[in-house]
Amino acid sequence: MTNTLLKLEQINTYIDQFHILQNVNFEVKSGEVTVLLGRNGAGKTTTLRSIMGLNSALSGQIVYKDEDITKLPAYKIAKKGIGYVPEDQGIFYDLTVGENMRVGMRQEDEATKDRMEWVLELFPDLKKFWKKPGGQLSGGQKQMLSIARSYVNDNDLLLIDEPSKGLAPVIVEKVIESIEKMKEKTTVVLVEQNFYMASRLGDSFFILDDGMTVHQGDMKELRENEELKRKYLGIA
């Protein structure tokens, strides 16, 4: 029996005058990878930003580990154990790889050092380019750094926004392998347009369309439902 780690109930989020999320509902079970799917502009990124407190929801409730986090500021939400990998990776260009990792550490204790070692084994390139400024990394290396930084803390939930975006297939494969290893240790909400990646990693899915949750279920169901894929994801 898996427990609900995160629950969104009737979430409405505005950006300026635009009503982006309209009564969005979904649940994330502990230990699973939940994939948020939908076309461009469906509201996937805004959903993650609302969870993270970067675009706070105007109404509705976001419950994480039985606690209402809807109106909390982003830094408090992060401290509750939620890691965020934004669509643009959020790498600090003038900081080296090592500094990007260190600035992401909420604590610098033994447990953090152990996680750091683990994550560097997962992404050996980061060790190689430890003293290189983040701005000089390739797209794939930046993505790996962003994911690694989110994992270096004791996070129970990772929100990862389109990790395959703009990456070569061989790099996408590496990112998939890394998230596969991470999902053994943490729960993941993944926003992804690359259906291959989504279906490889996902246990369950939610489809957003025009800011509304229109479908949900097990990933196995989606893999076999050609109609659903065609209708909402544009996959023939």
Binding site: Y75, A78, Q89, F92, Y93, D94, E99, R102, G104
Partner: protein
């Protein structure tokens, strides 16, 4: 040659004093995106508190410490009462901080009286050294050393400490640093207070150098500091140092050779930078795709 060296030392000393005001301003702008025209007022308060402190205690170090404490407190009050309500709105920031600059200047007159105060150098810094034919005024050498120590200290904090990394990262992307669990508001307050303390330190060191402290000095040096921040690159401490030295040196040399162009040369420097390198001499990068 002796004249050249003397002018150069004078220019570097002036540049270091401008740097002390500008480095706080550049961090405040870079991290908080705040246009703080009240910064010069804190410089003037530092000068007056320093002069007053020295006249009361006859201890130069204590007078400097008092000025720095005054800077920290005024910084805290300014951030809390003046800046906080206008985050994200540059027009309101300009109007309210310019207004507060005037309040700070006028309040100096209320507290210390309307007259110009004479500022003394401490006895151990009143003399000069004669190196060959070059006269090195001790106080100028002292301001250069203090300015350099402050620069090295700031760079060391920014480079090697966690809080320094957070400030550098915050200058690049405030949102991401919050998503990593950092309370950016607390960092804002800290940076604002330190920046204000540096301006006050600059004022406390400037007054004995010029021999006077006057309420309007804040506006004068505040504008210099803004020009330096624009030339150096907003958010860049090394940029502020280089720009402050450029402004200091060019001012001193022009004041000697073509006095009528002394002020204009600073403006010309700024125009040239804005035309050929609008982001300043030292650009602070952002984050991915931003």
């Amino acid at each position: 040659m002796d004249l050249f060296i003397n002018l150069a030392i004078n220019g570097i000393a002036t540049g270091m004093l401008i740097f002390l005001i500008a480095c706080g301003l550049t961090l405040i702008f870079g991290l908080m995106d705040v246009l703080n025209f009240a910064h010069g007022g804190i410089f003037a308060w530092g000068a007056f508190v320093g002069v007053w402190g020295y006249s009361v205690t006859q201890n130069f170090l204590i007078s400097i410490v008092l000025a720095v404490i005054a800077g920290l407190l005024i910084g805290l009050i300014t951030e809390y009462l003046i800046i906080r309500p206008v985050y994200g709105n540059h027009i309101q920031q300009i109007l309210i901080t310019l207004g507060f600059m005037l309040v700070l200047s006028e309040f100096i007159k209320v507290v210390f009286g309307p007259n110009i105060l004479a500022a003394q150098k401490p006895p151990f810094l009143q003399d000069y050294w004669l190196v060959g034919d070059v006269t090195i005024i001790k106080y100028r050498a002292f301001t250069i050393v203090v300015g350099f120590i402050i620069f090295v200290a700031i760079m060391a904090v920014l480079k090697y400490t966690k809080i320094g990394l957070i400030v550098r990262a915050g200058v690049m992307d405030k949102e991401m640093i919050q998503a990593l669990g950092v309370n950016i508001r607390l960092v804002f307050i800290g940076v604002f207070m330190v920046g204000s303390a540096l301006a006050a330190l600059g004022g406390a060191l400037f007054a004995p150098s010029s021999g006077v402290a006057y309420a309007e000095m804040g506006m004068e040096f505040g504008i210099f500091a803004f020009i330096v921040v624009i030339i150096g690159g907003m958010g860049s401490v090394p940029g502020s140092l280089i720009a402050a030295l450029l402004v200091g040196l060019s001012n001193v040399f022009m004041a000697y050779y073509v006095p009528s162009l002394a002020m204009a040369v600073t403006m010309i420097l700024m125009f040239l930078v804005l035309i050929f390198r609008p982001e300043g001499l030292f650009k602070v990068s952002g984050v991915s795709n931003k």
